[in-house]
């Protein structure tokens, strides 16, 4: 009997070694579920879907390798159509019914600003909102700042950069085209403050309603801004409305540079303009400058970009179940790269949280993250007083049908 048992020892050791060497086994019961409310339908669905896809490319790879401390990560996503009330309902469901571990990848300022008071209300449950896809201020400042963790730079930083660059080349009459809600106001404030810092005032402003489609006419907005005689227009909007505005502005002869901030969804904007260019036999893609908060996915010299492209190709993430049936996913985009970087940093946070994840410790762990090389151009870091990881802004323009880095602003010199 003993001899038989001793004979089994090598087999048991081999089995143990195999288990140790193989990726940690995971089961649905111990998975880490992160809750996401975003636009998976409607005029801004491209943002929610691409952000989700970028994150899923990374999570799928992490799960394939055994998850975080043996726990796979799953995104539980609900569609809010970029509507604040739906975002509030989704958040309540995620926190109180689904009991997700944390909130992640929310899309939009009007939605996030309405969700923040919920986090405050249920502060005792220690929910934290990670990496919302918005550069607005409310979740960067008190009283809601401690409830959120941001990776991207703010709209104030983006708009200040745009204003500074354009004013420096003699384009001081800056007008703003913006979405009539909290998002638009956030960018509007950024432009106003940047101009004020240089002793300037806004040349004019025009607004549009959230959810405006590319097929709609924005001639009235164009007429208002034409009257203001701007040197440059900064758009704070989503891709369908911004593309429609660019199209109608160019048709009306308003050829000044038009700049968009990172939220716009650059590839979706460009695709709409290219289709309109082909239909109207004129080029609507000139004189565009888009600010980005992540590096270009064309910058393949960067290891993180290579990793992103490789995982997007390997896993070909699909849109969330039940959405995007008539949506063509983009191979690469600034939005999905941001989703990818969000996921990468979240995995770092969860790894440092340890094998027994505790929501209440999340913010302490985040505050301890310093000098993280995420591939954003500069190390990412947080502290007890700073809940924004990156200040990096990248400026791009359209060349040969794609967004490339701006290397020389003088081409727009007035």
């Amino acid at each position: 009997m003993i001899g038989h048992t001793i004979g089994l020892v090598p087999a048991v050791l081999l089995a143990a070694a195999a288990i140790w060497a193989a990726p940690a086994r995971t089961s649905p019961g111990n998975e880490l579920v992160v809750g996401m409310s975003a636009a998976f339908s409607g005029a801004s669905r491209g943002l929610g879907i691409e952000l989700y896809r970028g994150s899923m490319a990374y999570f799928t790879e992490v799960n394939r390798q055994g998850g975080v401390h043996g726990r796979p990560i799953r995104i539980l996503g609900y569609d809010d159509g970029y509507q604040p009330n739906a975002a509030v309902q989704n958040t309540l469901k995620l926190m109180l019914e689904d009991d997700v571990f944390l909130l992640f990848n929310y899309v939009g300022t009007p939605t996030v600003t309405r969700v923040l008071p919920l986090l405050k209300k249920y502060e005792r449950l220690h929910f934290t909102l990670f990496f919302p896809f918005t550069g607005a201020q409310p979740h960067r400042e008190l009283p809601y700042g401690p409830l959120a963790v941001n990776l991207r730079a703010s709209y104030r930083q983006e708009t200040r950069g745009l204003v500074d660059h354009f004013v420096d080349i003699g384009r001081a009459r800056v007008a703003v085209f913006y979405q009539a809600d909290a998002y638009g106001r956030s960018g509007w404030v950024g432009v106003r403050e940047a101009l004020s810092a240089r002793g300037l005032r806004m040349a004019g402003e025009a607004t549009y309603s959230r959810g405006t489609k590319f097929t709609e006419s924005l001639d009235r907005q164009v007429a208002i801004l034409q009257e203001a005689k701007p040197d440059v227009i900064i758009s704070i909007g989503a891709y369908e409305a911004c593309a429609a505005f660019i199209r109608d502005a160019r048709k009306a002869g308003l050829d000044v540079p038009i700049a968009n901030v990172s939220f716009v969804g650059s590839e979706s904007l460009l695709a709409l303009l290219q289709s309109a260019s082909a239909a109207d036999r004129r080029d609507y893609t000139t004189n565009l400058v888009n600010s980005q908060v992540v590096p270009s996915y064309e910058h393949t010299a960067a290891p993180v970009v290579r990793e992103y492209r490789a995982l997007m190709e390997r896993h070909a993430p699909t849109p969330p179940a039940g959405f995007g049936t008539d949506y063509t996913p983009l191979p690469y985009s600034f939005v999905s790269l941001e989703g990818f970087l969000n996921a990468k940093l979240l995995v770092e946070v969860l790894t440092r949280l340890g094998p027994e994840p505790d929501r209440a410790r999340l913010r302490t762990v985040v505050a301890s993250l310093t000098n993280i090389e995420l591939g954003m151009g500069a190390p990412v870091g947080f502290s007890a007083d700073n809940n924004q990881g990156s200040d990096a802004i990248f400026y791009t323009t359209v060349r040969d049908g794609r967004f490339v880095p701006v290397t020389d602003w003088s081409e727009w010199r007035r």
Partner: protein, 243 residues
Amino acid sequence: MRIARLFQKTMFGIFLLFGIIALSTSALCVYTVDRQLSTEYVANSRTIAQTIANSSLDIILNRDLSTLQSLIDQFRELQGIRYIYIVDEHGDWLAHTFVPGIPKEILEGDRSPDGTVERRLPGFGEFVEVASPILDGIAGSVHVGMDKGLIALKIQTAIGQQIYLISIIFIVSIVGAYFLVNLAAHPITQLGGYTRMLAAPDAPTTLTADDARRLLERDDEVGQLARIARHLAHRAETPDSRP
């Protein structure tokens, strides 16, 4: 069936009466609803403006204006409110809900921090604008525009419902009146035919012998008149009965 000429006037009278009722009640309705709704809307607007003014102070002083925008966007969803704007003590814009832009009439017009003004904004409509000062005006003011078109729509709806009700009553009354008028007109028509038959027995008539018998048997005024007519006709035919 032809209505006796005597009763055509009655029917006309009913039409006229209903017309007067419909017009007078509609006018009263317009006046009452307009007054009540206008008063109520202005009161609501004032309450909303004051609420925003009170809650926006902390935001203006300590927070980002996107939070302020988010706040007014929520109030903008209330029925009847077409626009909200907030300006600081210098008249500089802090937040607003105008699309596609701030109307020139407001940009260039009076933006008193308190009180009520009526505005006609081309392309937008007609509004009652109520203002409320923030921190007694030293931090700016909130302005809430209520759509007068909505008041007109409510009045139209109220009048429409009233006219609908009156029309139903009118149709029922006409049918009832027609039936009743006919009930009275038929025996009188028969009485006329009977008297013509007595006066000229050889003339063609639609009155049958049974009709005449039933007419004479009636115990109402028509029956009495028929019997008197028969009696007079008999007396006229009897020579010794003449005076």
